[in-house]
C-alpha cells in the first residue's frame, strides 16, 4: 500500500474523530461555539442580504403574476371583507371607549408603548432539524436575546442570539421553542411547544379546559419576556389527537419583520392617585365604619361641607413605595368624585400593574 494511500486513510479517520469530538464539545462548551456562531452569522449576513435581494425581487414578480390572475376575484373578496370590517370598526371603537373607561375606573396602568426595529429575513433555516431565520438587525439597532419578533399577521418567534448586525430568530415551530400562551376566549393558559412540524403543540393545558379548535391563541406575557396579547394563531386538532396551533403568520413568506424591544416594567414609577382623590395630609385615625344602608343603595360619602376632613374617608392609597410585582390588587377607591366616571376624563395614573388585565395595548405591531 503506498504511503500516500495510508496518509489519506489516516486523515479520513482523524477528521471523523475530530468531527465526533466536536459533537461532544459542542454540548459542553456552548459559550465558545455560540460566540463563533455569532461572528460567522455577522460575517455572512451582508452576503446573505445581497443574495436575498434578487430572491425577493423574483418572489414579487411571481406574486404579482398570481395577483393578476385573480385580480377580479380578489377585488370582490376585498369589497365583502371591507363591508364586514366597517361593522367591526364600529364595534371596536365602542369597545375601545368602554375599555378606556374601565381602565380609568380600575386605575389600571396602561402598558408602555413598545418600540420596535424593522428588519428583513435574509436567510432560511438551511436544515431539517432547526427552524430559525436570520434577520438583518442586530445589537447596533438594539436587538437583544429574548425579543419577540412579529410580522404583519402575528408572532413568528423570538430572538435567541444577536450579533452586531444580524440576529437569529427561533421560530415557534422549532423543537426548542416554548412559549407561554393564553387561549381565548376561555383564558386557558398553556405552553406552545414546537416539535419541528408545521403546527406547534399546546402543552400543559388543564384537562378541565374546554379549549376547542377555532379558538384564538395569544401570548400570555408570563415570564415577562414577550409582551402579552400578541396574536399567534388558531387552535386546530390534528389526527393524532393533539391540540396544535395554526399560526396567523405565513412561515413560507417571511420578509419584513419587526423586533419588539419590550421591557418588562419591573421598575414601576411611583404614581400618585388622581388629583380628585387626594386631600389634605392624612394624620387622622382610620376611616369611620361604613354606614349600613338597609335599602341596598351604595354608600355615599357625606359632602365636604358636612365633614371636616372628607379625605379621611379615603384609605391611604399611595404607599411610600408602590408594589412592583404586579400581583397586587388594584386599589379600588370607595370614594370617587362622580366626575371621575366620565369616559372623556383623562385616565388616572395607577400604581400597580396586574399583568393579566392589560393585554395587547400599545404593541403597535398587530395592525
Amino acid at each position: 500500500m503506498p504511503i500516500r494511500e495510508i496518509s489519506h486513510r489516516i486523515s479520513l479517520v482523524f477528521m471523523l474523530t475530530l468531527a465526533a469530538a466536536l459533537l461532544l464539545l459542542g454540548r459542553a462548551e456552548t459559550y465558545v461555539f455560540d460566540n463563533a456562531r455569532q461572528i460567522v452569522t455577522d460575517m455572512a449576513a451582508p452576503l446573505l442580504e445581497i443574495a436575498s435581494r434578487p430572491v425577493a425581487a423574483a418572489r414579487r414578480v411571481v406574486e404579482r403574476t398570481d395577483e393578476y390572475a385573480y385580480v377580479f376575484d380578489e377585488n370582490e373578496r376585498l369589497r365583502a371583507e371591507n363591508l364586514r370590517l366597517m361593522a367591526w370598526k364600529d364595534t371596536a371603537l365602542k369597545l375601545e371607549s368602554k375599555v378606556q373607561r374601565y381602565e380609568a375606573l380600575l386605575n389600571v396602568q396602561i402598558d408602555p408603548s413598545i418600540n420596535y426595529v424593522s428588519g428583513r429575513v435574509v436567510s432560511d433555516n438551511g436544515g431539517p432539524f432547526v427552524d430559525t431565520v436570520i434577520v438583518n438587525a442586530g445589537r447596533e439597532q438594539g436587538v437583544k436575546s429574548g425579543d419577540a419578533v412579529i410580522d404583519t399577521d402575528g408572532l413568528i418567534g423570538r430572538i435567541v442570539s444577536s450579533g452586531e448586525k444580524a440576529a437569529r430568530v427561533l421560530l415557534l415551530t422549532d423543537l426548542n421553542s416554548r412559549l407561554p400562551v393564553v387561549i381565548e376566549p376561555g383564558h386557558y393558559k398553556a405552553v406552545l411547544a414546537g416539535d419541528n412540524t408545521d403546527w406547534p403543540r399546546l402543552e400543559y393545558l388543564l384537562s378541565t379546559s374546554s379549549a376547542a379548535p377555532g379558538d384564538r391563541v395569544v401570548t400570555s406575557g408570563d415570564g415577562g419576556l414577550i409582551p402579552p396579547g400578541l396574536p399567534i394563531g388558531l387552535v386546530i386538532q390534528t389526527s393524532d389527537g393533539y391540540l396544535r396551533v395554526q399560526s396567523f403568520a405565513n412561515r413560507e413568506q417571511l420578509d419584513y419583520v419587526r423586533v419588539l424591544k419590550y421591557e418588562f416594567p419591573v421598575d414601576v414609577p411611583r404614581q400618585d392617585p388622581p388629583a380628585a382623590l387626594t386631600g389634605p395630609a392624612i394624620v387622622s385615625p382610620p376611616a369611620p365604619p361604613p354606614v349600613v344602608v338597609p335599602t341596598g343603595e351604595p354608600v355615599k360619602p357625606k359632602p365636604a361641607a358636612q365633614k371636616p376632613k372628607p379625605a379621611a374617608a379615603v384609605k391611604p392609597v399611595t404607599p411610600a413605595k408602590p408594589a412592583t410585582t404586579g400581583v397586587g390588587v388594584t386599589t379600588m377607591e370607595p370614594v370617587a368624585d362622580p366626575d371621575e366616571d366620565e369616559p372623556g376624563a383623562p385616565p388616572p395614573p395607577s400604581e400597580i400593574v396586574p399583568n393579566d388585565i392589560v393585554t395587547g395595548t400599545g404593541t403597535g405591531g398587530t395592525e
Binding site: M15, L22, L25, V122, S123, N125, L175, N196
Partner: protein, 177 residues
Amino acid sequence: MARLDPYTPTPAARASRVVVMVLPFVIGIACVLLSFVPVGRIFGSSNMPAFALMAIFYWAVVRPDMFPVYAVFVVGLLTDLLSAGPIGLWAFTYVLTYTIVLTQRFLIINVPFSVFWIAFLLAGFIAGTISWSIASVIYGALLPVRPVLTHVLITAAVFPLFAFLFGRIERRILPSG
C-alpha cells in the same frame, strides 16, 4: 544576475493555479451560503436543498484530490455555525458520507448519469439517516422523519442542475488529473 528560467511560471500563472486548486472548496463554501439564501420562498416554500452535499458528492466521486476531507470538514462546520443546530452535526455527517462515497467510488465512476443520480440519492439517504440519528440522540427524542425525507428528495431533485454546472467548471477550468 539572476538567471531567467523560461519554465518558471509567472506570479499570475502561479496565482491562477492556486485559484484553480481551491476552486472546488470555494464552490463548496458558496454552496453552504446558498443553502441559507431563501431561494425556496420564490415558490412559496421554505425547504432548501443541501447544496453542500451536492458539491461534496460530486467532487468526492469526480476529483477527490481537489476536495480533500479537510475541505469537507470546513464545509460541514460552516453549515453548523450558520444553522442553529447542534455543533458538529453536519461536519460529522458530511465527513462520514464523504468517506462512504470515497470507498464506493469505483462503482460510480464513469457510469451513465442516471446511475450517478441514483447513487447521489442513496448518498442523500445515508446523510439523512446519519444526521437524523445524531440529532435524535442529541435532542433526546425521535424527531419527525418527514422534514428529513423532504430535504433529501428536494436535494436529489435539484442535483442534475448542479452536477451539470460542476461538470462545466471541471471540464473548462480545472486541469485534468
